[in-house]
Symmetry: C2
Subunit: 429 residues, 2 copies
């Protein structure tokens, strides 16, 4: 298998920073292009300042946010492929944002969804668009390696102490990220109705925190699968250090090879990397591994209707990723007649989670710069800001879907288990 | 519009009761037919007793339940069209059940789903199969009239005092039906996050209890639509008697003509009568009536995968009805980019609700017999027992789906509102 060098991703971002070409004249043509671009993205309430330092006439002079475009090439590229080139030219410093980046992106995203070109209509092939690499067994390895293997030290700078890189659950809006990630792991455990002695399989375990939480607090044994080598290495170290080695086994392999029978199937933040072409395959895996009375939970970013991801996001950040609609997710469940027991949408919690990550990231810029340089900082700032914006304006969702086999009557009677203030058990239920 | 006489339905059930043809001989051929029939429905653990009073050899002699078939014609009809003819011949007394009818149906349904002919695979045209009448504006009126207009006095015999003919919510499993129906109305109100002074539109309001509950306890004004004349008459009388006339308006009309703007859209137990052909139309109605910050809730019977209803159920009980899958429901929401905020599956609550209805129905047989005769009693016993069985074994689901517009951030932060023991407000929030 040919996995690209793990720093290749970082290298693609370090394009030369051209800077402003001082002295280059701005023509009427340039202003026309700028206005055409703005119109193409739905005339958002943003200023556009060209390389002469002047706002393009009539362009929302009082707007709270604006973008500075440093040269004509950048302006023309924006018109050709706005989503890809905005990202790349922002990273390279050829575009700069005035005002708050999150607010800028919220404003632009909101207006884009009202245009013909970008409006939110269902596209049955959405998940194939702009994809450099779909999710075959080897494709998945490349795609996962691209994002998750750039170094645990980097993620440690801005994730919580348990290293969870998925939506947290804030029992109240002022909870810390640490509290909220533990609350999320516990909510997932309660939704699975875990009992001591049960067996759990986890598909896509990240740095392994959910598996350790379930083992420690609910007395279950867990097999946790992941194809990110660096994450698996970290997860094993933590389990060893915390004396959970006998209860949690981390397996560096693909969800498609999961074997055995389990009382619970859980997957938190993996479905985004599976791709709808493989949902039926995932359903078959669940069908062959879940016991008759078993409960399953899939936690995933989702969408209201099928739209492609931005090409920049797919090329630079998460190749192969796609957040499904509820309709698309049903391909996992319907062929095996799984019952949808519960769906909770935690979109606002993901907005807050990403805000926390962005804050912590910004507080650690010196370390990130040492590691990867400025273009990388700009890329991750853009990515994290874009996530905050998308969850806040409702372009992305976070679905927690609980399911069971049709004849399983051990499903919860009411939602008492959802009490946000529930105490976390000590493992001796 | 040509609506059939409201007693026509009852008449179709009163086929002559043939009784056993004493003395008719049972041949080896008859036993072979009986075994073939049993095999066709997956060899359930039931006895078959033919008209000589003898169990067909080897047919589960120790089974807790059995069926007595009174003549050869009935036996042959079972083989030709098991679902339709079992129902009709049971109603006419040509088939009788030994042991508990619910248990009999659970046993048979469970085994049927394992056969090639009846197994649970998705059928994209499921909702069209066996349908005498789909749901155009006039078709809907006929279909609704068929079931709901057979007389309020009849429904009063076995529904709760508020006359709710939809799944109740039992805060605990021993709650009374009365308590559980009030708890359901309140759960729906809390999920809608109703505030005093808001406006609500209800599509398909039955006898009007949900509308009165929301008006009385949450201080909202409600417009409630229904095309069942008898239900609307009753609902108006109750609202007048309870002094809620100024707050609740019952409108005898189709959901497709709903006008105005509302803070909440609610529909409890109507979607079953809409039909997937009209889901997009329903979505358009919701889209034009719900405010930007509005919340919607649809409460409906559903399925894990698309399968047709039984032809007997469609012909005799609920013409035009179809319980959708989650996938099919998304046709309501996706075109307008509604966000799925929450899905709760109350399947076991509907099983318990139907058990309560069946018990009350059985306690009032004398009155029902006076009203409609024996065949009617048998038909409703079969229908209510079939519902208990289907919800208990998981062939049918009950989905409560909460939705909003994508940019609405007033959706609930946690599920504290779900607390089963929540107190019902006094209307002055």
């Amino acid at each position: 298998m040919n996995i690209p060098d793990k720093k290749a991703f970082v290298a693609t971002l370090n394009m030369p920073y051209c800077g402003a070409k001082n002295g280059e004249r701005v023509f009427g043509f340039d202003r026309w292009v700028a206005r055409t671009f703005l119109h193409a993205i739905g005339d958002p309430e943003v200023r556009i300042i060209l390389w002469d330092g002047v706002n393009v006439a009539d362009m929302a002079p009082a707007a709270a946010v604006g973008m500075v475009i440093h040269d004509r090439g950048t302006l023309l590229r924006l018109l050709a492929n706005p989503l890809l080139n905005f990202g790349d030219d922002y990273c390279a410093g050829r575009i700069e944002i005035e005002g708050d980046l999150v607010r800028f992106m919220e404003t632009v995203y909101r207006s884009m969804t009202c245009t013909t070109r970008f409006k939110r209509t269902s596209d049955p092939d959405a998940y194939r668009r702009h994809q450099p690499n779909l999710n075959s067994l080897s494709g998945s390895r490349c795609n996962i390696h691209h994002h998750y293997d750039i170094g645990n030290d980097f993620y440690r700078l801005w994730l919580d102490t348990e290293m969870l890189y998925t939506c947290a659950y804030f029992p109240d809006q002022h909870a810390s990220l640490e509290t909220a990630q533990v609350a999320k792991m516990d909510l997932v455990s309660r939704k699975l109705r875990l009992q001591p002695g049960q067996t759990v399989v986890e598909a896509g375990c990240g740095w392994g925190a959910q598996a350790r939480h379930m083992a420690r607090h609910y007395g279950v044994t867990v097999k946790a699968y992941n194809i990110s080598h660096e994450q698996i290495v970290y997860a094993r170290q933590r389990a060893r250090a915390e004396g959970l080695e006998g209860q949690v086994e981390y397996i560096e392999d693909d969800y498609r090879v999961i074997k055995g029978k389990y009382d619970a199937f859980v997957s938190v933040g993996m479905l985004e990397h599976v791709g709808p072409d493989h949902y039926q395959e995932l359903g078959a895996v669940i069908n062959r591994t879940l016991t008759e009375q078993g409960i399953g939970l899939i936690h995933t970013i989702g969408q209201n209707c099928a739209r492609p991801m931005s090409p920049w996001f797919l090329k630079r950040m998460f190749p192969g990723s796609y957040p499904p609609t509820i309709r698309e997710m049903m391909t996992i469940f319907e062929p095996w007649e799984f019952t949808i027991v519960d769906v909770e949408n935690l979109r606002l919690h993901y907005g807050k989670t990403c805000e926390n990550w962005l804050d912590r990231f910004e507080q650690n810029l010196d370390r990130v710069r040492e590691m990867f340089g400025d273009a990388f900082i700009r890329a991750w700032r853009l990515y994290l800001s874009g996530c905050v914006a998308n969850f806040t304006i409702g372009s992305l969702q976070l679905f927690q879907v609980v399911f069971s086999r049709p004849g399983n009557n051990r499903i919860p009677w009411t939602r008492e288990y959802c009490t946000p203030s529930a105490e976390i058990p000590d493992g001796n239920l």
